[in-house]
Chain length 499, copies 2
C-alpha cells in the first residue's frame, strides 16, 4: 500500500447516521483511486493511535475537496476528531468473527470462544448494520441453546466494565416488558432501598416500547451517570435508577439493541443475555424477574412464560446469579400513563400515596418489592407484600426516591405535552379486551420515547363501562403532525373490544 496518499484532512459535514460509522470521501481522490475504494467498502480510519471501522459513501460533488474526508457525527465522536485533524485510512482486513456469524446463520452451534470473538468485534464497532441484523436474526427464537446463551452472556460481561460494591448481596429487579405503562422500577427501588438493602438499578432505554425506565426516569432526574457517579449515589442512598448504557456495562449489547429497535423485534436469547450480562456487570447477586403474560404482551402464553422462566433459571445458575421469576398479568396496560413523562406522573402519584394513584401499579410494585424483601430475609416467606406496603404507606419510600434523585443530580417535575387530543369511544358498553401492541404503537407514533412528554393517558381498563363519546384515551404530542398521525392510526386500527 502506497501510504503517502492515505492521509486526509477531516471536514465535518454534520451528517447524522445514528450509530453506524459512515466515512465520506471523494470518488476521484487519490486514496480511493490508489486503494480501489468504492461505495460500501469497509475502511479503517485511524487517529492518534485510535481506530474505527466505517462504511464508505463516495461523494461526487464539491462538498468535499480531494484532500478531505468526512465522518458521520457519531463516528467523529468515537474517533475523537475535529475539523482539520489529519486521519489515516486503510483497507479493513476480513473480520474473522464474521465466519462464525455465517456459521450461525446456517444454524450451527457456536462455542464460548466464538461468542467472545463476535461480541468483541461488535463492541469495537467493527460490524455494519447489515451484519448486525444478520447476527440478531440468527439468534432469534429458539436458535440458541442454553449453553450458547450462557456463552453470549459471559462474552457481553467480558467486553464491558464491572462494578464491585463491597457488599455481599446486591439486589435487583427486571421486567421483560411488553406492557405499556408498567413502570414499577422506581417504586420497587425506593421501597427496597428504604428497607436498607442495596439495589443499584441500571435500566435501558426503550427497545420497541414507547418508554424504557431510563426514558421515564430522565423526566425526573439525571440518568446518564458515570460509574463513579453511580457509585457515589449508591454509597449514599443504597440505590440508584441510572441508564445502564452510559456506563458501558455492556457496550456490545447497546449496539445490538439499536439494530433490534429498527427491526422492531425482541429476541429471547439476546434478551436473556442482555439482561443478565448487565446485571452481572452491575454486581448483582440476587434478582427478581417479572414476566407479564397476556395475548398481546411480549410473552403470550403461560407455556411460553414457563419456558422463558426455565431459560432464565438455567443461564442464571450457569453464571452464578440468584434468580426468582414471577409471572404477572399482562392483559392490559398498567397504570394510566404511557410514554416517559406520563409514566413518571403515575409513579409520583403512587409514591406520594395519592388517592387517584393506579391500584394495579401499586399492587404490581408491592408484589415485586415483597419478593425481594423475602429473598433478603427481611421478613418471613409470604410476608413481603405487607412489609413493602408498610414502607410505601409510611412515606419512607417517597423520601428515599427524592433522596436518590437528588443524589443523581436533582429531582424535577415531569413536563406536560404542548398538544393533546381526546380519542372518544364510538360505542357504549363494557371493555373486555385491549391490544397492548396497538396501544403502544399509538403512543410511539405520537412521538414517545424520543419526545419525552408524548404518549397516551389511558383510562379504559378491562371491566370499565364506557359511554359513546367518552374518551378511551388522550393522545399527548410535541408536534401537531405527530398528534394527528397518532390519532389517525388509532381511528383506523382496532385496539379495544367493547361488548
Amino acid at each position: 500500500m502506497s501510504d503517502e496518499y492515505s492521509f486526509l484532512k477531516v471536514k465535518s459535514l454534520g451528517i447524522d447516521t445514528y450509530r453506524e460509522n459512515i466515512i465520506f470521501m471523494r470518488q476521484d481522490c487519490e486514496v480511493c483511486r490508489s486503494e480501489g475504494f468504492s461505495s460500501l467498502t469497509r475502511i479503517v480510519v485511524s487517529f492518534e493511535g485510535k481506530s474505527i471501522v466505517a462504511t464508505l459513501n463516495v461523494v461526487n460533488s464539491d462538498i468535499l475537496h480531494h484532500s478531505e474526508v468526512s465522518l458521520s457525527v457519531e463516528a467523529m465522536k468515537r474517533l475523537g476528531v475535529h475539523d482539520g485533524d489529519i486521519v489515516h485510512v486503510s483497507h479493513l482486513k476480513p473480520i474473522q468473527s464474521l465466519k462464525k456469524v455465517r456459521a450461525k446463520m446456517h444454524g450451527h452451534l457456536l462455542d464460548e470462544f466464538s461468542y467472545q470473538e463476535i461480541i468483541k468485534d461488535i463492541a469495537a464497532g467493527h460490524y455494519s448494520n447489515v451484519e448486525l441484523a444478520a447476527f440478531i436474526t440468527s439468534c432469534v427464537s429458539k436458535r440458541l441453546t442454553t449453553s450458547e446463551i450462557t456463552s453470549l452472556t459471559k462474552a457481553m460481561v467480558m467486553t464491558g466494565e464491572k462494578l464491585d460494591w463491597g457488599s455481599e448481596r446486591i439486589f435487583d429487579k427486571h421486567c421483560v416488558g411488553g406492557i405499556p405503562g408498567n413502570r414499577t422500577t422506581p417504586i420497587v427501588v425506593s421501597i427496597v432501598a428504604a428497607s436498607g438493602l442495596m439495589i443499584p438499578k441500571t435500566s435501558s432505554r426503550a427497545i420497541t416500547s414507547p418508554a424504557g425506565t431510563a426514558d421515564t426516569m430522565e423526566t425526573l432526574t439525571k440518568v446518564d451517570l458515570s460509574l463513579q457517579q453511580i457509585r457515589k449515589v449508591v454509597e449514599k442512598e443504597g440505590g440508584c435508577m441510572a441508564w445502564g448504557g452510559a456506563v458501558q456495562l455492556s457496550p456490545a449489547d447497546d449496539i445490538l439493541i439499536s439494530v433490534e429497535r429498527s427491526l422492531d423485534i425482541d429476541s429471547e436469547s439476546q434478551m436473556i443475555a442482555s439482561i443478565l450480562s448487565k446485571k452481572i456487570s452491575a454486581g448483582t447477586t440476587d434478582i427478581i424477574i417479572d414476566i407479564p403474560v397476556g395475548p398481546s404482551a411480549k410473552v403470550r402464553s403461560v407455556k411460553d412464560a414457563i419456558s422463558l422462566q426455565h431459560s432464565f433459571a438455567s443461564v442464571g445458575q450457569a453464571v452464578n446469579l440468584g434468580i426468582q421469576v414471577v409471572l404477572t398479568d399482562g392483559k392490559q396496560p398498567v397504570g394510566f400513563g404511557i410514554g416517559p413523562s406520563l409514566e413518571a406522573i403515575d409513579v409520583l402519584h403512587v409514591l406520594q400515596n395519592e388517592k387517584g394513584a393506579s391500584a394495579d401499579l401499586v399492587n404490581h410494585a408491592l408484589l415485586l418489592s415483597g419478593k425481594l424483601l423475602e429473598m433478603a430475609g427481611k421478613c418471613g416467606s409470604g410476608e413481603g407484600i405487607v412489609e413493602a406496603k408498610q414502607i410505601l404507606q409510611s412515606g419512607k419510600a417517597f423520601k428515599k426516591f427524592v433522596a436518590i434523585c437528588e443524589a443523581q443530580g436533582g429531582f424535577f417535575q415531569p413536563k406536560a405535552a404542548p398538544f393533546t387530543k381526546d380519542f372518544p369511544s364510538e360505542r357504549a358498553g363494557k371493555i373486555v379486551g385491549i391490544d397492548n401492541r396497538t396501544v403502544a404503537r399509538i403512543a410511539k407514533l405520537a412521538g414517545a420515547p424520543k419526545a419525552p412528554t408524548a404518549g397516551i393517558f389511558f383510562g379504559a381498563h378491562l371491566g370499565k363501562n364506557i359511554q359513546i363519546g367518552e374518551p378511551l384515551l388522550t393522545i399527548h404530542a410535541e408536534s401537531q403532525g405527530e398528534l394527528n398521525y397518532a390519532y389517525d392510526y388509532a381511528r383506523s386500527n382496532h385496539f379495544i373490544e367493547i361488548v
Copy 2:
C-alpha cells in the same frame, strides 16, 4: 399533518450510498420539526405521482438550507428528480409485510400471498438494508420448505417483466457457482446457438465471487441490454449473453443480491428462487443446472448436492420447468484465469481451439452443451458430447460467439491489468489440495470484479509438480495498493497443499 411545510427543494450532494435510498434534511428545517423526523426515520418522498421510501440522515451544517432536501445518487435516479425539483415528504405508514418478515424470523411458515406482499415491497424499495438482511437471514439454510421456495419464486416472477420468444422451447444453462474461473456459459451458449436452438442467456454479476458471467462478458461486449435489444439479438442469432438485472426480470432479486453480497453469504432458498424466477421470466422451458461439488466449493458434499438437486427438481416441477441437474468436479479452479478479463481470455482460447486452451474448461463446457443437445433431441442419449465437440472444433461456435457479441453492440478484446506480480511457491512437490475460497478471496482483494482486469492467473492445478520459486499464480491489479494487499493476503493464508 400540516402539509404546507412538507414541500422541499432538491439539492444534489452527489453522495453515493449504493442501493439504499437515503434522504438528507436539516435537523432544524420546518418539516423535521413539525413532523418529528429524526435520524433513521423512514420517509416517503414523492415527485410527480412517483414515490420512494428513504431513510433519513439529518444534517447539522450549511451543506443544505432549511428549505432544501437531498437524496443519495441512486434515490435521485429512482425518483427521477434533479436539482431544483420540488418534492413532497411524509411519514411512512407501517409496512404491513414486515409483520410477515418478523413471523419468518421466528421460524413460522409463510403462505404464497405473504411472499407476494414481501417481494412487492422489496421491489418497490420499501425495505431498509437492515430489514433486507433480516429477511435474507430468515431464509438461509433449511428454513424454507419447498412450497415456500416455490411461493418465493412465483412472487419474484410476478414483480418483474416477462419475455415471450414466440418459440415453443427455450434452452438455458446455469451453474450454482463457487468455483473460481468456471466460465463455461459463453462457450455453451455459442455451441447450442450454433446448433440452431434458442438460448437467450441472461446472467448475473458476481454475488460473492471474483467474477460473474455478466462481469466477464462485459470485457468482451455490451451486456446491459434492454428487453428490446435482447429480443433483437436473439431473433438474429438464436442466443445472447446479457446481464439479467438491466432488464428488470426480477427487480426484488437484484435488491436482495446486493445485501447478500455485503453479507458474503449465499442462501440455498434464495438461490433457487433467484435462479428459477429469472429463468421463468426469461421464457426458459428447458434448463441444465451445473452443481460443482468439492470441499471448498459452494456445495461441499455429494449428499448436499443431491439434496439441492431434489429441491431444484421439486420447485422446477411446481413452476413447470424442464430441469436436468449435473454434479461436476469442484475440487479446484477451472481454467487459468480468475477475474473478469482473465476469464474472458480463457474463453477466447477455448472457442478459437488454441493449443494452450484449458482442457478442463473445454470438457466442462462440452458436457453441459452435450446435455442440452440431448434434451432438445438434436442427438441420441449419450451422443451429446461428441456432437458438441464437433460444433466447437469446426469453428462454428466461435463464429456464433462473435456474431452474438456484434449483435449485442460489438466484439472487443479484453484488456490487461497495469500491475502484475508473481506469487512463488515456497516449497517443491506435488499439488494435492486447493482452497477455492481463499483463492477467490485473493482475486477479490486484487480488485475483481469491480476492477475488470484484476484477478489471478492460476497455473497450479491438482497433480502438478512444482519447484521452489516457481509461480503458483500471478496477481493482476489496477492499483498498486490492491496488488500488495492481495499479495500479502496470499502470503499469510494457506491456500495450497504440496506434498
